[in-house]
């Protein structure tokens, strides 16, 4: 397949780097200010080098990447809320040209799911977005394999930063601010960790799952989610939980059309009590009990692996 990769952050760059390994070529690659286009396939190593040293990927205009020759558009720009732009327009451009779109950007499928689906309906192209939920973990494709109608609930730890903070607080007996600063030093938390710690990121993933599970065309957006973050969790609360054989995790829950994200008490030894930056999704299936999928929920190569898995499914 020929790929046009829009977005040159950790995920977009990793897709470009790993594409040939999966038998694909990259014919266009754009960041926010530049693009490189070559219908014969770009020199990925040289381009990634240029991105690292000069901060740009090429000398073409970024919008030219959208009209380049490609089979699959990979949308890997940062997630935006509300109108989900410019990601949404990128997906639209691909579908209107009857090309496939594979998303790592949560915005379009969390905030404008119905719009995306109706564009897909009019197009020869398909939309896949495994990478938007749980990084490398095959959550959406597993739901698809079982058929959404056979999944009654999904619960999970879907934000590694929040989970790292909670598990460090619990094991070290440290307070929130202290562990957050440590997480930022380690690069686990971003300079502005708001979306991770206030539950927004996990909620977007929950909303995407709810959209996939929805069997009556009901569309969900972030506004439909009930969200509480971990900023108010104190060391003393975690201590009380531990004295009772429990711990606290930021859990996203999608059950019967409701999306809730918040700190929850879970038994210490429960599968959901993963530690560090690890993620887990627990699927409640109609005929096969619980199914746990655990793994790395973020990171460039991890998320790129999910993107490349989607491309393989097309």
């Amino acid at each position: 397949m020929r790929l046009a990769v829009i977005g040159a952050g950790a995920v977009g760059s990793a897709v470009v780097e790993l594409a040939s390994d999966h038998g694909h070529s990259v014919t266009a690659f754009a960041d926010s200010s530049s693009a490189v286009i070559d219908s014969a396939g770009i020199d990925t190593a040289a381009v990634l080098d240029r991105k690292r040293t000069d901060g740009i990927v090429g000398s073409d205009a970024p919008e030219d990447a959208l009209s380049a020759e490609y089979d699959v558009l990979v949308e890997a720009t940062p997630t935006t809320l509300g109108d989900a732009e410019p990601g949404f327009s990128h997906v639209q451009a691909a579908l209107e040209r009857d090309r496939h779109a594979v998303l790592a950007n949560k915005g379009p499928v969390a905030e404008r799911y119905a719009d995306v689906r109706s564009l897909e309906h009019e197009s020869e192209g398909s939309v896949l977005f495994e990478a938007t939920v749980g990084g490398a973990m095959p959550i959406l494709s597993t739901i698809d394999d079982f058929d959404p109608s056979h999944i009654t609930a999904v619960r999970g730890v879907l934000n590694g930063t929040a989970n790292f903070i909670l598990s460090r607080m619990a094991t070290e007996g440290l307070d929130y601010e202290h562990v957050l600063a440590e997480a930022q030093d380690l690069g686990v938390a971003e300079a502005d960790p708001t979306f991770d710690v206030d539950g927004t990121d996990a909620a977007l993933k929950g909303v995407i799952i709810a959209n996939v599970l929805s069997d009556d065309e009901t569309e969900y957006t972030l506004d439909d989610a009930e969200v509480e973050g971990i900023q108010e969790i104190s060391g003393s609360a975690l201590e009380l939980a531990r004295a009772d054989g429990r711990t606290v995790r930021l859990i996203a829950e999608v059950v019967e059309g409701s999306v809730r994200v918040g700190p929850r008490l879970v038994p210490d030894n429960a599968p959901l009590a993963v530690s560090g930056t690890r993620n887990i999704a627990q699927l409640e299936t109609e005929h096969a009990g619980q199914l746990n999928i655990s793994g790395r929920g973020a990171g460039g190569p991890e998320t790129a692996s999910a993107v490349l898995a989607d491309i393989g499914r097309l």
Binding site: A153, I233, S236, E239, A243, E253
Partner: protein, 177 residues
Amino acid sequence: MSDSTDEVRSYTVRLELVDEPGELLRALEPIANNGGNLLSIFHERGNVTPRGHIPVEVDLEATPERFDGIVDALRDAGINVIQAGAEQYSEALTIILTGHLVNTDLSDTLSRIHESTDATVTDLSLSAPGGTDDASSARIRLATEEGAVDEAMRSIRTVADEKGLHVIEPLAAGGDA
């Protein structure tokens, strides 16, 4: 249709009494006054619940209809009915409340949870490392009737919202993690 509601059956009622003179008599009156036939009373004097109450087990006979009246009358009299017949407080629920628990009157918080949910607080642990004027945390174990957990959680959220407290909920029913 069989007229089974007239059939006299035996029931066991478990009560929690405040340790004060006259409490036992006050608890037995609603039973006698509502057509219940007392069979036995087991007064566990030495056994005190975490809240300092004394558990009492009463065996009695009554028709199902009268029995319902007896339980209502006991509750109207302010007597804590822990178990009545088959209706047992059987689901345990553990939550953690955080925030200014002491300044917002913890005992009022607990009694409001109790009143609005029919849930009984069976255990309470408080941790206030920064002193009682600072934010603190409490782990609360509640017993609710079977199937009433969701309703109890809704009431707890309402009380916590009003007082600016945060609730760390257990996973929803069905989610055994």
